[in-house]
Amino acid sequence: MIEAVNLTKRFDDIVAVDHINAQIRDGSVFGLIGTNGAGKSTFLRMAAGVLRPDGGTITIDGMEVFENEEAKRKFFYISDDQYFFSNSTPRDMMAYYRIVYPSFNKERFHGLMRSFDLDESRKINTFSKGMKKQVSVICGVCAGTDYLFCDETFDGLDPVMRQAVKSIFANDMQERHLTPIIASHNLRELEDICDHVGLLHKGGILLSRDLDEMKMNIHKVQCVLAEGMEPEELVGMEIMKTERRGRLLTLTVRGDLSRVEHVMQTANPVFYETIPLSLEEIFISETEVVGYDIKKLIF
């Protein structure tokens, strides 16, 4: 298990990670999502022992990570801009990783390279961005570590490859309890791969829960209320956001579905309909609640 307690990191005057408390349990795909500058990469770099925390601790299976070889042997870190030796081939990289990761599975590496149709003896600098990501993931999976840290690794992977990777993860999770931790701001990429998400915002963690649970706890309601009735009068409804188009209201509400439907029925609206939210919509809603105006960024 990876555990962060009051984890803090500052870059000069900027607090990149602000007293984060989180637990990442083994055996699931953990998605770390957040806005740009939320602290995802910083969190992962601290988890990988690259950065030394300014405050708090981060442990892997109870061991401090920074400058701890034993703890570091438990994970493989793929950074957002993974480094490959200049003029190196995937085979060269494998040779290096075999030195530092004693459990590196050479045969599996060859197998996966063939499966992904990647030439082991071709120079990596001639690969496309997506192919480089594939090489990184293959190296990471074959390193034989308990954890795999992927920072924006799925950017640039096409859906087919994403599914292929997901199946590899699923296989490794089942066979040797691999725990992939994937940081991304692209919610659509995580939606179909993660079991659990941690939502980071402005250096703090907003929530950390199972994806299914999260999806079930936030809903969108489209409705036309009775004449003269306002959304604020919906008793027992925790409304996070209200949009109006004439009399048609779109409400983003928190709570379980049965309770939301019960409140709507009680209010006797002209019309209502509950719509499931995508992970992206959940993310926008949660961040808006804490004052993050996503529209300002988009427009």
Binding site: R45, G49, R52, K72
Partner: protein, 781 residues
Amino acid sequence: MTSRNLFFKLMREDLKRRIWAVALLSLGFFLFYPVVAAFTAGEIKEYMDHAKGVASYETGLVRWLSFNCGMTVFFMMLSSLICGLSSFSFLNSKSKVDFYHGIPVRREKLFAVNFLDGILILTVPYGICQVLAVLVGISNGANGMRLWQVALAAYGLHITYFILMYATVVVAAMMTGHLVIGFLGAVVFASYMPMAVGILVGYFSSFFKTYASYLPGIFSERILMYGIRMSPAAEYIYQLGIRNGQQYQVPVSMAVPVLVAWVVSLCLAVLACVLYRKRPSEAAGKAMAFSVSCPVIRILLTILSAMGLGLFFYVVRSSMGWGIFGIVFGGGICHCVVEIIYHFDFRKLFSHKLQLVCCLAVSVLIMMVFRFDLLGYDRYLPKAGQIREASVNVDSLADWVSYGYTQQYPDGHYEWVDEYSLRENVMKNMKYHDTENLLALASAGIESLEENDSFGSYVDSWSVADSNVVWSTVEICYTLNSGRKVSRIYHMPISSERVQPIIWRLYENEDYQKGVFPLLSLTADQVSSVRFRGEYAKDDSKKQEICMDTLSEQEKAQFLETYQREFQAMTVERMENEAPVGLIRFCKPADDEAMDWWERQEALGDRAEEWYRKNGRYGSWARNDLWDRDFYPVYPSFTETIRLLEDQGVSCGGYLDGLDVRAVRVELDDSFVRGYQEYIGNMDPEFFDEEYEELRPEIRFHIRDKEKVSELRQVLVSRALCYYNPFYRAEELKVCLMAWEPESGEDLDKSYEDGEEGNWNVSVPVSFPEGRVPGYIWERE
């Protein structure tokens, strides 16, 4: 075992990544050693004598392979930068840092791997190429043993200083997050201390008139000696400099500096490792890895730059205004450049205005302290009770004394070696205890300084109104009761009414004499012969010399004791009126051996030893130098010494008697004009000037009248002998005896053909004793 395997595997992998550096240095060393060794071997064929060609080739190759090869030093400096910066260049890239710091390898291990690889990248190709060069040399007939010795010693020494510089570059790389800034950091580490010391010494020498960097106990002496070497490159060059040309001579032990270099390298390596452990990974790409070092480096560089440019402008214009301009300009520019480097942003030029202002204020304050001598450096005068002893050197009093010895070199030839200068000897050996006179001398120096200050500029002997006054440099080194040495240098009129008694008292003091004249410390058992020069001879000094090498031990002891006693008893008052009648030398066995050797070689001619045949012209210079050293004056009042000489059949007092003098030449100059002015009394200055202008074209005239010549010969004294008496009161008028001396083997009776000026071939400089210039000289009759 696993860990050790991992270490070596990582080293191998790292070397694979840096194969470009291995290739670059290998190529460089290959061209530099084996190729040069083979290329220069072609010179052997150019010699008619193959053995000579091989010897010349071997000498050249030894110079090339040795520690004294400047090109190797340059190569090592460049290589230390390449290896040091490339070893840890990964720290400057975020992606590389993420990679290397994300793998399960501790930083210490990574450091050791990269650090050692950086050393191996140079040492292995260098070693292989040295070996190849030696083999090429041997295959061409050079002495293998000699080449192996030189190459091995050079390899050890160059590697030592390479590692020292490399470790410093690595420290610079650890403190910075950018390759270019790392390079600049290495340059700063290599040059800051030498520059700081240079500027500090510049302040001392520009603002303090009593400062001389070469004197012991001077504030900056230690800084000069050690501070300037607090840069690996400067230490490397320093060691090279002091051993320049020593590959053929008795080697100076380098054990201590090499040991120091290794210890410092080790300390720097540990420091670099600690810095690496502390270094934040997020420093990649930033100018400075540690924010705490930013202000320190900025302040140090700004103050140095401000003080350096301030000094430059002050020295050029001698104006405080320009000095302050230099401080503001230099400090401001440096501060801004550092800020740009730190932030990569022009808008941050003045983001630390207060620091800039403080740096400039400190620099101005330092300049003020020096300019107005606020610490009283030039006025320093210890209390009598504080002084244990002192060394005093008055340049003009003993510039004729030799401080050295005769040495035989491994090739068999002899030379005189100047072990010390007069100053060095005095500072090393003198223990002057007459505190009262010492302080009087120092006070006179300070007073003279203040008088000069009142003129608004420094006054030297050439610009003073009264040119009859003799000015001299006086150096005093106090040894205080605490053991501390403090030195000051003064420029003062030593023949002025006030200073003259002090100088006389100093000269007659036994402590002073023992410190200045090595002869007074000589013992009879060290003497093998006594030589005397009492007659002038042209060119060949041997002609005029009488060597008493058959004296018994008792006679030698008597000679030495008598001369020492009379020399010490000689008062300045007597010296003022006595010109020496001859010169005496108490030779040591090595001196006699050397002179015998030279005479033997001259007699052997073509069969002489190799060194003598090879160095004909240089050889004669070395021989003459050996022959003319270590002589002391014999005065007419040294009656006992003269009697001992006469007992040995040596007559004194006829130094110029052997000359066939045909005329006396008088040359006019300022001294003549002054003398003329005194002679004619209170002449109207305007008229005098006109008279002088008329005289000026006729600057030289000859007195040929035999009677006058004969009369003048009775009065004139040898200028060569007077050189040994600093107090002798002679007229400054330039006079020469024009004589004819037949060349060796020439018919003595043959009349010399009259030339344009007269029938002489020798001019012997002589002087008139003070006040004894005949009137017709002034009238030019």
